[in-house]
């Protein structure tokens, strides 16, 4: 009589239970994906779907007044499926960022998209680095919060600035892993750690998102393993050789990093620790 083996019980799917509260919104995916720089809109739409995201960023720009037929982003994204997150990319002053946030909100209100109540704030310092101007970012945060926006703040990985932005009422602080579009990954994980410690002190649910710098899937995993709540990326998918496959890789990487964070990694040690019993071996130990 063969022995019947009891099937091991699979754990409940941690991912499905692990939704992500971001301000007044709840997201299923912890990836926020940008809509810029794709070779065409079809590839963009397919890549967004493949990434599993339910929140996508968009930019606000002047309408081209010639040949607009069929060339609008909005003809290619399902605004019922995704929460849109309008950004203030390309703004270098507080006033311009506030204006752009209002314009984005106005469009999203017209679309009846739930993203009308928030903005990804970018106030840049210069065009070469695209690094944020921390003083202007802080002031713009205060003004937009006063106007009722949920402000998701793009910033550097400086923990002191991060803390000031939270104090100013930012819904989420989003430190850059490395400069926008640089693909350098998480350059200073220790700063991200300190940001997390400061921002989540007594407030463990406060959302922290790594925004910018992701070059490949392992960058997302590293960020998620550090304990950030989500990752925002664009170029890493859009400019990959095969964006569709990279979108899937990013989704898997995000899930892997989140699960590893929840599971709790082992501490790093200098020397080895055997996995097999050290006693009962048939071979003598070397001296």
């Amino acid at each position: 009589m063969p022995t019947t083996l009891k099937e091991p019980t699979a754990p409940a799917d941690t991912r499905s239970a692990d939704s992500f509260r971001l301000g007044r919104h709840t997201l299923r995916s912890r990836l926020i994906v940008g809509t810029g720089k794709y070779a065409n809109y079809e590839l963009m739409a397919q890549s967004l779907a493949a990434s599993g995201t339910d929140c996508i960023t968009v930019a606000v720009r002047r309408e081209r007044l010639i040949d607009t037929q069929g060339h609008n982003l909005l003809d290619h994204i399902d605004t019922r499926r995704y929460i849109l997150l309008p950004n203030t990319a390309g703004c270098f002053t507080v006033d311009d960022a506030v204006r752009m946030a209002r314009l984005g909100r106005e469009i999203l209100l017209g679309l009846e998209n739930p993203g009308a109540d928030w903005v990804k704030l970018e106030v840049l310092g210069d065009t070469k680095t695209l690094l944020p101007d921390p003083v202007a970012t802080l002031e713009a945060t205060e003004r937009l919060v006063a106007e009722g926006f949920q402000v998701l703040c793009y910033t550097t990985d400086d923990p002191i600035t991060a803390r000031r932005l939270k104090q100013a009422g930012a819904t989420s602080v989003m430190p850059a892993g490395s400069p926008i579009g640089s693909g350098q990954g998480i350059l200073n994980p220790n700063n991200i750690r300190i940001c997390l410690e400061y921002l989540k002190d007594g407030d463990p649910e406060y959302p922290v998102i790594v925004d910018a710098g992701v070059g490949t899937a392992s960058d997302v995993t590293i960020a998620m393993e550090l304990g950030v709540d989500g990752v925002l990326l664009n170029t890493g998918i859009a400019h990959a050789k095969d964006p569709l496959v990279m979108a899937q890789a990013m989704q898997a990487a995000c899930a892997a990093g989140r699960l590893a964070y929840l599971a709790g990694r082992i501490p790093k040690k200098l020397y080895a620790t055997a996995s097999s019993p050290e006693t009962g071996t048939i071979a003598p130990k070397p001296r």
Binding site: M44, V58, A59, R62, E63, T68, L84, I107, N234
Partner: protein
């Protein structure tokens, strides 16, 4: 009268409304937002907002971005 739309000069009839201009530009109203002289003009006011000579308009939409 002369106005400026996204930096380009344009002639519109006296007393034209913002809604009339957007229709003339063949823009889908729910895809755009409009600022006149740096101030947002909410959609609900487009029908009754009359343009004035020298107005500077920004007509924006959503584009791909990160």
């Amino acid at each position: 009268m002369q106005i400026f739309v996204n930096g380009r000069q344009r002639t519109v009839p006296e007393g034209a409304t913002l809604a009339q201009l957007l229709a003339q530009l063949e823009l889908q109203a729910h895809h755009v937002a409009v600022e006149i002289n740096m101030e947002l003009v909410p959609r609900a006011q487009h029908e009754r907002h009359r343009l004035a000579d020298g107005d500077r308009l920004e007509v924006v939409t959503l584009v791909g971005g990160g």
